[in-house]
Every structure is written in structure tokens, then in C-alpha cells.
Symmetry: D2
Subunit: 367 residues, 4 copies
Amino acid sequence: MAGAMGDIAWVGAILRFEAALATTQAHLGIVPPEAGAAISDACRPSLFDIDGIARAAVASASPVVPLVAALRELVGPGFAPFVHFGATSQDAIDTSMMLVAREGLDLLLGDATSLGRECLLLAGRYRATPMAARTLMKVALPTTFGCKAAMWLQGVMEARGRLSAFRRDRLAVQLGGPVGTLGPQDVVAGLARELSLAAPDLPWHSARGRVVELAGALVQVAGAAAKISGDAILLAQDEVGEIVFEEAGVSSAMPHKRNPARAIEARAAFAAACAQAGVLNASMAGEHERAAGAWQAEWPAVSELFGVAGGAVARTLEAVVDMRPQTDRMRSNLERFVPQPHDEHLRAAATMAGRAIDLFAKELGDE
Amino acid sequence: MAGAMGDIAWVGAILRFEAALATTQAHLGIVPPEAGAAISDACRPSLFDIDGIARAAVASASPVVPLVAALRELVGPGFAPFVHFGATSQDAIDTSMMLVAREGLDLLLGDATSLGRECLLLAGRYRATPMAARTLMKVALPTTFGCKAAMWLQGVMEARGRLSAFRRDRLAVQLGGPVGTLGPQDVVAGLARELSLAAPDLPWHSARGRVVELAGALVQVAGAAAKISGDAILLAQDEVGEIVFEEAGVSSAMPHKRNPARAIEARAAFAAACAQAGVLNASMAGEHERAAGAWQAEWPAVSELFGVAGGAVARTLEAVVDMRPQTDRMRSNLERFVPQPHDEHLRAAATMAGRAIDLFAKELGDE
Amino acid sequence: MAGAMGDIAWVGAILRFEAALATTQAHLGIVPPEAGAAISDACRPSLFDIDGIARAAVASASPVVPLVAALRELVGPGFAPFVHFGATSQDAIDTSMMLVAREGLDLLLGDATSLGRECLLLAGRYRATPMAARTLMKVALPTTFGCKAAMWLQGVMEARGRLSAFRRDRLAVQLGGPVGTLGPQDVVAGLARELSLAAPDLPWHSARGRVVELAGALVQVAGAAAKISGDAILLAQDEVGEIVFEEAGVSSAMPHKRNPARAIEARAAFAAACAQAGVLNASMAGEHERAAGAWQAEWPAVSELFGVAGGAVARTLEAVVDMRPQTDRMRSNLERFVPQPHDEHLRAAATMAGRAIDLFAKELGDE
Amino acid sequence: MAGAMGDIAWVGAILRFEAALATTQAHLGIVPPEAGAAISDACRPSLFDIDGIARAAVASASPVVPLVAALRELVGPGFAPFVHFGATSQDAIDTSMMLVAREGLDLLLGDATSLGRECLLLAGRYRATPMAARTLMKVALPTTFGCKAAMWLQGVMEARGRLSAFRRDRLAVQLGGPVGTLGPQDVVAGLARELSLAAPDLPWHSARGRVVELAGALVQVAGAAAKISGDAILLAQDEVGEIVFEEAGVSSAMPHKRNPARAIEARAAFAAACAQAGVLNASMAGEHERAAGAWQAEWPAVSELFGVAGGAVARTLEAVVDMRPQTDRMRSNLERFVPQPHDEHLRAAATMAGRAIDLFAKELGDE
């Protein structure tokens, strides 16, 4: 994920935008075919001084300004006027945000699917395994470990559904030109085709709900993961002992100690994810046709958010894979704290686990 | 909105839950018919000491405990065992949160629809009215005021769409019993019917994505409103003068001054909305079958969030209704700062305004 | 705390500002003595329709406008011109915020001192009581319960120190006049004397660091409390059993269950406190001489923040008072998970507890 | 600042901790002198595979574990047992956080001092230069540009004061050993001396107020800067024209346009700073003797927060240096919107500017 969100990835995405724009405009006869070919050919990240562009970006509050300048120099004065033709920095950045987001979503959906499958496996394997349910951090009544895993599964699947829906419906090009009015519809359509993004109904320069929706889906999947990791940490407490981590982290001071390192990192990542989602929510209220601060806060926040949401899911996936449920301990804890028989609760819990499996198995198997 | 979210509304919702539960269980023969009738009859807020219940709630971290106790006392020892039968506090609170949210959503959707219509009117009336677009807070190139209003409209409609979708798909009863395992499906179905809520696929005691989705939709509509209010404040600056507020707020020190009071309040409300959404996002990672803190943070945050999101939309609606666009000033500012002709930008802007109207008019007219 | 932060408290504070201003100006011969007396006499909350003022406040984004209008009406046309003389809404609100904050701080400092004393008692009584320390949620090495309480104490005392310092140094009147330039220094000094607030070096209309400092101190004390409550919840887990709450909360579904209700509420309150502190931090970057949204977001956020920070401390204090340390269980858990002797750790822990007592006992005894 | 907060800086700081610990322990005869020398000599970042350590850190949720392992290997089996002797990961990380923070504070204080001086210059040079004050984004009454700059100055100086106080009083070593009980006081004192940090009264493993205080000071300085940048952006609006940026940013689409790029970046950085401060506030409520997630969220948040707070101040400093006040425009705007004479306001404003200069000049000159 770090690679998918780094400076190189962003510069690569901006160059893909510029290449696709020039190619489309060449097809449509808006720019000369040779210009389209030359520009498209020059849009390779390896031809650019990416660190220099990052430094120069400070002076214009946008990496697009120095990148377009470098691209114009590269293609020479004959084709330079056709570079970035009719576009504005925001077109390039917003479209690139969608390209970068697609990479991020694919990685994240892959891990979320794997995490879902692991939860599904747990729900099936431990469907009827009795354990104590704990409410308000006190032992309450019996449940089954499969039922607990089914709840985790539900959280992951709801979040995964939002990510999928965003991936499918909301990844759209931006092409509104200098002030976000309607770009030429044929260019918008061609650009969308070139980049395999949707052509939006309208430009979205100053309607940032799309980004808020993305932020919401990302924080939700991070939260679904952190929920699992948090439960796992609680179950792995020595006094509880219902989970053991096979490859737990070691301690620098206490060689015998085994720490739930991955799950801990997932929780730390979720805290960071909440923060970045907050930046993106607040950015909705930007000024006029392009905000003076709120928009510029979006790109790093989106990159960071993918990083930490991805981290929360990846670390939780590792933790779940590494988890060794201790079913004897589950049973003995239950008997110790809830001595009376509660068969109807166990039946309900097992039924719920089964129902969750029925609901989600097909969806997880399809991909 | 304050009424829809106050203590009385919450107690009323919890009582509706308890009444519907008893009624359903009576229909199904789970509790005696007379118990169902007696309980249902007693579930009237006026019969309860709401302040006393609020005070007593502190001792159990839940208003349900004292409310159920009072209800049991009210129906007498004969029917008391059938009150809250098979349910847990969280069933009552979560279902009530959905009932309260439905009221809140209806109010909010009403205002959001009105706000959308006002933006639609502006987009139509000023479709071709030239004004300066401003990017990064500098005059850029021409747009039309209708195009600006179309962007506002887009923001409102996207948010309104999310609210509607939540209203339609995600308002579900909660009935998982003490530890959130599957409640009896016939009771769940009956309860859902009684309360006109959906019967969820699974209980959602510890899968809190539903609340995060609600928070996301609420902050988004508040942001769409604050975006409009922010732009209006900027346009109403004396030096810009492109908007005048007819009934602007007065000053305590400067009688001649006219302040954009409503729009200001909308922005303040949005800041508060972002904060509450943050509380709800963070609450996803609660412990085990019922969180010890994160869940209890949800109810007040949901109430507050509806209050401030509702405030942001209502104040923005008032501001937009009160807005007097100064088209001469728009034109003169434009000529002053962008002297050269830019007919193609004006055409694109007017086309975009028209396109937005085509996209959204039917949706707004239908309700 | 709810009373200290409610509408009545705010209106009362604004009236105290107006009375003190008129009195001071009468002393200095700026307004006629009879005007000073009449205004001061009229500044009684019971003479005002507080709900009506709250409603009217919406139209001007400030309660001061309708309140000053009502006060002018009350004193009659002869004295009306001398009401709110030379002041602006922000002078009244900011000064009132300091008056309200003083009440809030006194309540909070009282509870924080009590909480500190309880921790001090625990640190002393259990100075040498062995228990397991837990790092990364795994049993690590021995500590003593007194050492743990000493850490709690440290957190409370650091936060209490910040609150005290703010109470002592930063509660200042605001009197900058309509646009926050320097108010007359003799009036500022007199007003400060009347209200027992400091006379600031400069008006602080658009330098909002003072509010950010208050927010920081409030969130810190809430965090110190939530840390204790969180630890207490973990120690009260059935599987750990090192703390029992005497008067724990009951459950609506499981009569046998005892929930750590107060500690849970403290954690929920801390989550809300973090959110409100975020609103206040973000408000620093307001526009020009008085912000259009950021400033108006401050007052409710300050009130809310006092409410939830006060709640976090009060609930934690109740939880700590209600706490019954189970020293046998502490010892048996320790022996079970850390069988080898570790006298040097126990000695270090006991020494630390003693050192904390030495550091803080005098400070807590003095008040 | 990026360098001061990067992986290399952190690894360097951890190695300085390990070297100082070994050196101190050698002086005190706790470890053999040759061990102290060998360890100290090996603690050079260039001897370590920093990327490899960052990767390995994931498995233990701490970079200290692999770094100490590598250091032990480097010094060989004879001295390995004396590496990290008596310390825990948290001792190394928390102390390193303070070392890294000191670097960050020095950079930030340098820029904050420069920013203060620039504001002081403006306050002096334009002490009596009339301009319109704007409240609630409407022209209100006259002020002077020097008075406005004096308010900026006040904001910067208050924040700078907090940073200085933290730098002076709160940068302390951490040495509590495995579970945060009291480390040996002679070692604590020696370590503090070696690293020029304070020896704290008590270890602060689970009392995280210190970090919250740092976060509060950092967000405050970022807010003070963003306030200035925000005002500057508003004054630079074409319709206002009271500030021109000499080296403004260029646009990729509109070659004539000059954007307030630095000020924009400062505002974006402030939004990010608020988010990171939120992470650190929330981290106070960690579990037991070392939190499982909250503590691990601190280090990256501190690094990020220094980065964005530093960015907010540095970009604002550049913006202020680049600012060309347009005094004719200030006067003409004032005459246009506030035609009546207001000499007393101008006098008050100029007096305030002078007073601010008197208050802060010495402090700024001293360094």
C-alpha cells in the first residue's frame, strides 16, 4: 500500500491523466495526432525528477504545475501547447486521486476479502463451540466462538460492500477545466474510457461528497478490522486465554512474553484512520470553485487514510490467521462464570453463525 | 429537531419498542394476550418521570434499566415478568436509535429537499448570469451563478441520496437478546412490522457499521450545506457584494452592520457535526458483545449529530431563501478582473447548470 | 455541571458582564451614576425571557443582541444608550465564557482534587501490595497496586495542575470594543476588578489560543480520568477479578450481572471530550477580527466540553470510591502468571508509590 | 523538519538512548567499562540496516526489538547482555520521542521566532495605517494594519511561549524499566545528563499527559500560523486587494493568475495538525502499564504533527515575508465602506499595536 500511495504513484497517475487526455484529444482531432503520440510517449515517470517536482510543488501548492512544465519541456516547444490542454490542476489531481484510490481499493478489497474468508472459516469451524459472551466487559451468557466470528464477518462484509460499491460506482474522472464548469462531453467520455473510470454526470470540483464517501468507507473497513483485533487482544489476555497467537511479537525486556503485535498495530492504525477521515469530512466546506486549503488537505489525507486503513486490515488479517482458539479454555471459562446450562443461547448463537455463513459465503466465493 | 432528539423522544422510542415487543409476543403466543395489552397500554411517556429516569440512568449506564423497572411497576407484578421479555438494554436502545433517527431523517430530508429546490431555482434562474469563478480564493475565469448553484445542488443531492438510502435500507430493529445472538426470527419480523422498520439479516450488536454509515450521511449533508453557506458569506463580503441578505442579522455594537447570521450558524454547526461523526467512527472498535464506553458514546453523539446537521441544513436553507443575488455586481466584478471575453466558459457553465437541472429536477419534484 | 453550563448560566454571565461594565463606567464618570445603578439593578436573569432570547439569538448568531435589546427596554429610553456602552457582542460572550469557565473549573478542580486524594489513598494503602503489571495487554512482571494508583495519581495531578494554572493565569476579561482594538485601560481594569478576572495585556478577539489552552487542559483531565476508568474496567473483568465494584450497575436482561457503569460512562464522556476539544482547536484559524462560524462554534463546544470532562472526572471519582481491590486475587494472578520471585520489581514499585505520595500529598492537602 | 522526524532520526535517537544508558551504567559500575565503550561506539546509525529494522518492527510492534537485536549482534556475545540493560522498549521509544521532539521544537521555535519578528515589524511599520476591520466577514469599523498584525503577533507569541515552556520543563527521559516502575535514580539522573534531558519526578509510562501537552502546543502554533495565512488569503482576494504576494504561485491553466500558495499550504497543514492532535489526545486512555494500540499510535502521530505544524509555520513565515501590504487600497476600501471619521478607533488600534510591540519586542530580541 505504501507503494500505491507514494509520490511515484501519484506522479505516475498524473502522467496517465495527461497521456489519456492528449490521446483522447488527438482521437477527437482537438490536438494534432503527433502531439497526442509525443505527449503520451513522454508520460513515463522514469523521465521525471520526482523529488525535484515534489520540492517545486510547494511554490504553487500543486505538483501539477511543475510536472506539466517538465512535460512541456520534454515534448519540446512544438507540442508543448497541447500538453494539459483545456485542463486545470484540479482535473489532473482529482482524476489521479481516483486512479490512486482504485489501486488502493483493489489492495484493500483483496485483504478485506481474505479477512472475510478467515472469519467465515472461523464461523463455520467454531459454529457450536461454547464460550462466554461478554457485555460491558463482564461475562454475560453463553455464545459460540462461531457466533462471535460471524459478528466480525458481518462488520467486514458491510465495510467491504461499501468499498466495492465505491469502486464500482464512484471512481470518476474529473474534467471541468479551469473553473470546474462542464468539460467537453466527448473528451470526458474518451478520457474516462482511456482510464477505465466513469464519466461523471457533472464535474465535482467543489462538490466533495465523493471524497467524504470514500473516507467513510475506508474508516469503516478499518473499524471493522480494529474491532476484531481489539477482541482478539482481549481474548489473548493471560487471564482469559481463549486465544493464543502462534507467532506473537517478542519483547525487548521480557524474553518470555508474547505480545499480540499485529492486532496492536491494527488498533493504532485505526486511530490514525479516524483522524484522516476527519480531515476529509471537514474539507467538504471549501471555498468557491476550488478551496484554498481544504482541497490541498485532501490528497495527503487520502494517501494516509489508505495507508492506515490498509494497515489495519492487513495486520488484522495476519492476526486472525495466526490465531489459535483455545476451545477448552473457552469452555472452562464459561463453566466457571456461567455455571447454569443455557442450551437455548448456544443454539441461537450457532444458528446465527450458520445464517451469517449462508449470507456471505457466496459473495466471498465469487471473487 | 431538538424535540425529535430530546430525552422525551428517546423515552418515547424506548416505550414504543417495549410496546411493540409485547404486542408481537402476545400475537405469537409467547406472552399472554392480556400482558401484551397491559404493557402496550402502559407505554405512554406521560406516565413516566422522565427526569428521574435520566438521573437513575447514570447508575446503570443505560436509561433502559430504570425505565423497564418503572414499566414493570406500572403493569404490576402479574405482568411484570413479560415486560422486556427476552430483550436486552441494547435491543431497546439500538431500536430506539433507529426510531429516533427516522424522525430526524424525515425532518432533515424535508429541509434537504427544500434546499435542493432552492438551489435548483437558482440554477435555472441564473443559468446564464455571468460572474467570476474563484479558485484558491482568486478570481479565475467566468462562470455563471447558475453553474455555481448547480454545484451546490449536486452536493446537496448526493448527500440527500445517502440519507434517503439509509432511510430506505438501513433502519432496522435490533433484537439479539442478552448477548446479541440471533433473536427468534418470528419475533424479529413482528417487531419490525409493528415499528415499520426492517428486519435485519443478523443482529448488529457489535457490528456498528450501520451507525458509521448514518454518521457519514449526516456529516455529508451538513458539509454540503456549510459549503453553500461558506460561499454565500464570501459573496456577501462588502468588497464582493454579489449577494445581499435581505434579513441579515444585526450587530450589538454597530447598528448599520448586516451580518450573514444564518450562514454563520450553519458553518458553526458543521464544525460540531464533524466532531460528532468522529465520535461515531471511533466507536466501531468496541469490546466484545457490547462495548464498555464506545457504545454508550453513540446515543448522545447521534442525537447531537442530528441536531447540528439539521441546524446546518435549516440555517443554510434560510440563508439561501434570504439571498438576493446582485447580478449587476457579478457582472461588474467579472469585467473588472477578467476583462477579456470568455464566451465559451459562459456557455459551458450555462450548459452545466442546465444539465444539473435535468438530472435533479425530477427527483426533487417527486416528493 | 449541567447547571453551570446551561442557558441560564450563560445569560446570567452576560448580565454580570453588562452590570460590571455599567458599574465601572459609572465609577469612572463615563456613564451617569444613575444609569450605572439602573442597569446593574436590571441585570437579573429572572427578569428575562431566557427561552425567547435563545430563540431570537438565531437571527443574529448571538444571544447578546436580543439580550441587550431586552435590557435596554427594561431600563427605559433614558438609560438605554448607556447599556453595553462601548462594548461588542464578543466582549460580552468572551468574558462570559471566562465566567462560566470559572464555575466549571471550580467544580472540576473540586472533583479532580477528590480524585487525586482517592488515588493518593490507594497509593498509600496498597503501596506494597503485589499485583501483575500488564503491558500490551499481557501479564509482564510484578508491580504493586499502589504503584499503579501512583501512575493514575500522576496523570490526575498533571491535568489538575494545568486546570489550576489556567484558573489562576488565563481567566481574563475581554473588552476590545466593536473590532477588538484596545479598550480603555481604566475600564478594562475596573471591569476585571468587578468580575474578579484578570485584565489581559491585550484584547484577544482573534487570538484564540486561550480557548485552545482551556480545551487542552479539559481534555487532559478527562483523559486522566478515563485512563483510570479504563484500567478499572479491565481489572474488574471476571477472569481478572482484581477489583470488585460494590455498587455496580445492574443489567436489564441479566439480574445477576454487575456492570462497571460509572467507569463506562467516564470512557464515553472522554470520547465526547476529545471531539469537543477538536472543535476548539480548529476554531483558532478564524477570519479577520471576528470569525464567521469558528467563533460561534466555540461557546457550545466549551459548554459541552466542561459537561463531558466533568462527567468523566465525576464518574471516575465515583468508580474509584466504589472500588474494592481484591488483594488475594492480585497475588494469586501474579503467582499464576509470573511464578519466579521478583523482589526488586516490587521494591521499585513500592518506592515509586511512596515517591508519588511525597510529591503530591502536600499539594492535595493544601486545598 | 522531514529529516528531523524520519526513520533515520528515530533510529538515531534510539541509538543515542542506548549509548547514553550504557555509558551511564558503565560510569556507575553497573556494566563493565568496556561494555559501555563498545556499546556506545556501536550506536551509530550508519552501522544499521534501517529499512530492514523498519520492516522487522512490524512483527513486534516496536522498532526497538529488532534494533536492540542488531546492536547485540554488533557488539558480540560478550557485551550483548549489557545492551539495553534494565530498560524496556518504551523507555527507548519515549526517550527518543523527547529527543526527536527537541529537534523539532528547535526548528519550530526558530521559525516561530522569525514569524513573530515579521509580525512585530508589520505591527510597527503599519501601526497607524488605517484599514477596515472585518467582523463576521463584513466590514465593521476602522482598525490599523499594525493592530491586525499585533493580534497575529499575540497568537504566535502565546503559542511560542507554550512551545518554549515545554522545551524547558517537559523534555524528560523515560526509564521505568519493563513495567514502568521507578528506575534506579542514579541511572535516571546520569541518563538525563548524558542526553541533556530532565530527570522526571516519576516514570511516565502510562501517564501520557506530557504528550497531550506537546500536542496542544503544536496545534496551537499551527493554528496561530493558519490564522495569519487565512487572513492573508482573504486580504489578497482580488476584490479586497489589500495584500499582494510578490512571489505568488502560478496556475497550470491560467498563466495570469497568482495564487497565495504558501498561505494555502499552511491552512492545509493546520487541518492535518488538528487531526494528529486528536490522535494524541485520545491516546491518553491507554490500557494498564503500556497500551495496546494507543501508545503505538503516538510515535507516528508526533512525527506527523511536527511535520504539519512545522509546515504551517514555515509556509506562513514565507507568506508573511512575501506579503506586500497595499496601504492605498486599505485606505480606499475603508473610505468606501466606512465613510464617517473614526479617529478614536484608529487611535485605539495604533495604541494596541504599540502595546503589543512593547510586550513582545524584548522577548523576540533576546534569542
